[in-house]
Symmetry: C2
Subunit: 331 residues, 2 copies
């Protein structure tokens, strides 16, 4: 195949992103060996912090980037047809009014399921066993037995039932819990015992022993769990957020934990990240602060590239790509 | 039925035992209401710290006690036929040379399964996610991502495959792990992918990503995991003990955790309990100290009494009791 017939793929990474997101020379070389035939159809450039971005955009057909360039994109990238994001959430790119109609945007939804399922299982059981308190007691060398029954039969309300929400649902069902899904339209799903549309959330929250936040951050979900909604939770309920910080009012949540209105919380997502050392969340009672680890796994970049190659095969075959971000819904 | 035809049941509790073990007037009254017909066959005395023990033994036919009297028992309790222990482990009563041949001893094996399964699931996932380190980082307000893959495919070696061991096995299988059971005779069980006799333990330990100690404490298991056996574990392996402290050399374990030879441990059992405030275990890196909470649930005394009534029905019907402690094996 003549070099000119190859498609130009540009990989772009900000050096400030977590290391497991980095699309390095080594990661690309290894992926190209795993997908040799497809890789031969490509000419690849690898950039950092936008240093070669403008030159690359001039000829790029395809791009993988955690924060794609949004300014005058069509003009700067006349041949660009497809942008793949490195992560699953694209809330930083909304609204998608910068995205030309003939460029498709795909995300990594689905990349996080198995790890998220483990993490939700752990978070549910840790909150149920009052582990944050037990570990605070360990720190103070205090032997105090807090006995809790098995978790089976408790109710988990899962907000958002996409990739992460279904993982949360599998975790809860595996533990014998009852699962209520809150989705945009309230569409029933086999994994959940019941499903309600987001408009009914105020009626569902009082039933939760555990709330798991697993929805994308969109204009519709931003601030969804504000102070007044959190106040609907029953005394002693607990909350897990593996999605995005902007969905939950952390100040209100912190107040409830401080006065014992909730039994605990596990937060894996913050705004900004890393969580600043001065944040009061670090030392809030019964709050477990996880540093954005519940859904990602080591070798994530390899995983991203493997999934990209699968989609690239569809692209070459003229098939509809997987994980296309809906311009209206924003996920 | 004339009062004299009733059987005399004596309940005895040391006040120093954990509160959920206490066989109180209230617990008895509630259980008697749940088992009205059977309760009518009984005359009941309730004692604390042995205050009325000798008088009670004089006429008792049946007894529930966490630490039954061992001295001159036949002489002091001429009518006694059956002793039920409150707990599952009876290592404190071994050897059973004090137990007259015509008195049957039953324990509470089987009482702890569902709760132990939840606890093992949590402990496995917490160790896999390096949660002790993550929570130490939280305490220090340090944001450091430790990424781990899903736990599926990792190997759990479960030592002892009775009530607790099978609960551990179910926990590991539920997480997609491989389960190797170590039992006295190495008898295969459906729950485990493989089973080996205790004599083969040295060959099996190097295969463990996680070791779960779940056997009774007997002369055969005391010190089973001494320093040289622990040294057989692969670097980065982790250990969970939900059974009895005497099975594992905690000093050797602590040394391995201090120098990072193991990735972590969850200990729920100590000798003595409560763990003294001066113990170095409280602050050993990557060690989670749980205050004997993994297998017990609230309402344990109610549960004990309900199970006792089931066995009492068998007793009245002349059937073989459940959970008879084997005099030779000691569990």
């Amino acid at each position: 195949m003549p070099r000119s017939a190859r498609l130009h793929l540009h990989l772009e990474t900000p050096r400030t992103s977590p290391a497991h997101f980095h699309l390095t020379e080594e990661a690309w070389a290894a992926a190209a060996r795993r997908h040799r035939a497809l890789a031969r159809r490509l000419r690849v450039t690898i950039g950092w912090d936008g240093e070669i971005l403008d030159a690359a955009l001039g000829s790029a057909d395809l791009m993988i980037d955690s924060t794609p360039p949004r300014e005058r994109l069509r003009e700067r990238a006349p041949r660009l047809k497809w942008i793949q994001t490195t992560g699953a959430g694209v809330e930083g790119l909304l609204p998608l009014d910068w995205l030309p109609d003939d460029i498709v945007l795909t995300n990594n939804s689905g990349a996080h399921g198995p790890k998220a399922e483990d993490s939700c299982t752990m978070a549910l059981l840790a909150l149920h066993a009052r582990l944050p308190q037990v570990m605070a007691n360990q720190r103070d060398r205090v032997w105090r037995q807090i006995l809790t029954p098995p978790i089976a039969g408790a109710t988990a309300v899962v907000i958002g039932f996409g990739d992460l929400g279904q993982a949360a649902g599998r975790a809860a069902k595996k533990l014998g819990m009852k699962v209520i899904a809150i989705t945009r339209r309230g569409t029933a799903t086999r994994l959940a015992d019941a499903a309600y549309p987001a408009t009914r959330i105020d009626r569902v929250l009082p039933r939760a022993d555990y709330v798991i936040v697993a929805s994308p951050l969109t204009p519709l979900t931003r601030g969804l769990l504000g102070a007044s909604r959190l106040a609907l939770l029953k005394p002693g309920a607990a909350l897990i957020n593996i999605a995005r910080a902007g969905i939950v009012d952390y100040e209100a949540l912190r107040g409830m934990l401080e006065r014992g209105a909730l039994s605990g919380a596990v937060l894996d997502v913050f705004d900004p990240e890393p969580l600043p050392a001065g944040s009061p969340l670090w030392s809030t009672p019964n709050l477990m602060v996880l540093p954005h680890i519940t859904c990602d796994r080591p070798g994530y970049a390899d995983f991203v590239l493997d999934r990209w190659f699968e989609n690239f095969e569809r692209f070459l075959g003229g098939k509809r790509l997987k994980n296309i971000v809906d311009r209206q819904l924003g996920y």
